[in-house]
């Protein structure tokens, strides 16, 4: 029964009985009995989880009564994570600051407006006044939060080409 529990846990999708039969090499009836028992066990002990039959298989999930906590948790997940596009934009800003949106476009070859919005929202970049050229575009640079989140004392600590040359080759 413990092996069944482990397999349901690692499965991405509801786990069909026949798969358990194949992996554990036991007959269908005893596996089904064990599954029912496992499900009852989770119900009886005051677990935050449940094991139930769904979509032609067995699945482990949180009990509905904890939805609020789970939602709250998912909402407040640490936000140091970035999409690749945002990471690229951030890289350009970090190394080229202060830099304007048209300049970022030129370097990345892609419109970066939504990334810039994300980075501003996450307070990783800040505006650095306007550039004195046509259209007076806004310039951006990295923030103090950027230093903190990436564990840098100051901008001079950013890895340079030289640091990498030592490593590559």
């Amino acid at each position: 029964m413990a092996a069944i529990e482990a397999l349901i846990f690692v499965s991405d999708e509801p786990l069909p009985v026949r798969v358990l039969v194949r992996i554990l090499n036991e007959d269908k009836d005893s596996i089904e009995t064990a599954l029912e028992q496992l499900s009852v066990d989770y119900e009886e002990r005051e677990s935050g989880l449940q094991i139930r039959q769904i979509g032609g298989g067995w699945q482990m999930s949180t009990k509905t009564e904890f939805h609020e906590e789970v939602r709250e948790f998912l909402k407040t997940k640490p936000s140091a994570k970035l999409s690749l596009a945002s990471l690229e934009t951030l890289a350009v800003i970090a190394y080229k600051q202060p830099v304007t949106v048209p300049e970022i476009l030129e370097i990345r070859g892609v419109q970066s407006a939504s990334s810039i919005k994300t980075l501003l929202d996450k307070r990783l970049i800040i505006s650095r006044g306007r550039k004195d050229t046509v259209g007076k575009p806004m310039q951006y640079g990295t923030s103090r939060d950027f230093l903190i989140q990436f564990g840098l004392k100051d901008l001079s600590e950013l890895p340079s080409i030289e640091d990498f040359e030592d490593l590559v080759q």
Partner: protein, 263 residues
């Protein structure tokens, strides 16, 4: 040692998976490449010579060590600089051992031993080898542990956590991309309208008809695209060709007029 099967010894000397073993001479040959570095080779030699690490017979070990370095060279394994540095160190220690000992101050005998620094380094290195081994066994245990499969909420977070090196690599990639573009720019500057016109005329002559969207798709840059477009306009203006489109928004075909008449 000449009859060695050289093929067996062709490996990436810096990156070999290694355990230091082999007591018999034959096995030793096969294991040669498994020394991760000069300190490993040295430890191996000390063990093989059954020498005491705290009292290394430096002359004997140096000779053996040099023998191996020469063997590596003979086998065309590029001998890493680190091995040569160690060779120099050994030779230096060996020569200092030959000098008459200065009368030692009481209680400081050890610090005068030219081998001391090397021995310390060897001991330190050995400690970390063991630490590495213990890490390895930990990792092996951990590989038997699995975390849960993906659940629905995971899909909402398709993000990656980033470090400064990710930042740097992103930047490098962008710069590389940029460099490629600049190189292309230089190349395409060499192409003039006259060149493009000549190319297009030649193609039309040999291929009889050109699918314009296919032709435009072949262009490597905006500039080439514009040149191609002007060239086509020029051809339409000056030569007996026909432009036609079989359906709205369909492919535009440029065809030599006399070919059409012939078909």
């Amino acid at each position: 040692m000449e009859d060695l099967d050289i093929k067996q010894l062709e490996f990436d000397f810096q990156n070999v998976q290694a355990t230091i073993v082999a007591e018999s001479r034959d096995e030793l040959r096969l294991q040669l490449g498994e020394f991760a570095g000069p300190l490993d080779l040295l430890l191996y030699l000390i063990r093989r010579e059954q020498a005491n690490i705290f009292d290394i017979p430096i002359a004997r070990i140096t000779d053996k060590y040099l023998e191996y370095v020469r063997l590596m060279e003979k086998l065309d394994i590029s001998v890493a600089g680190d091995f040569l540095v160690m060779a120099a160190t050994l030779i230096e220690i060996k020569s200092r051992m030959l000098l008459p000992q200065e009368p030692s101050v009481d209680g400081e005998e050890d610090s005068d031993d030219p081998r001391k620094e090397l021995v310390d380094q060897l001991l330190e290195h050995q400690k970390f080898k063991m630490a590495a081994e213990s890490l390895w066994s930990r990792a092996t245990v951990e590989q038997a542990v699995f975390t849960r499969g993906a659940i629905e909420t995971d899909d909402n977070n398709p993000e990656i956590s980033a470090t400064v090196f990710d930042l740097f690599e992103s930047f490098q990639k962008i710069m590389d991309r940029h460099r490629d573009e600049i190189e292309m720019e230089i190349k395409r500057d060499e192409m003039s309208l006259a060149d493009m016109l000549r190319t297009m005329r030649l193609r039309l002559k040999t291929e009889k008809e050109l699918n314009l969207s296919a032709v435009f798709a072949e262009m490597h840059s905006k500039r080439e695209l514009i040149l191609a477009f002007i060239a086509i306009l020029e051809i339409v203006r000056t030569e007996s060709v026909k432009l036609f489109q079989s359906q709205i928004f369909g492919e535009i075909i440029l065809r030599l007029a006399d070919t059409e008449a012939a078909s």
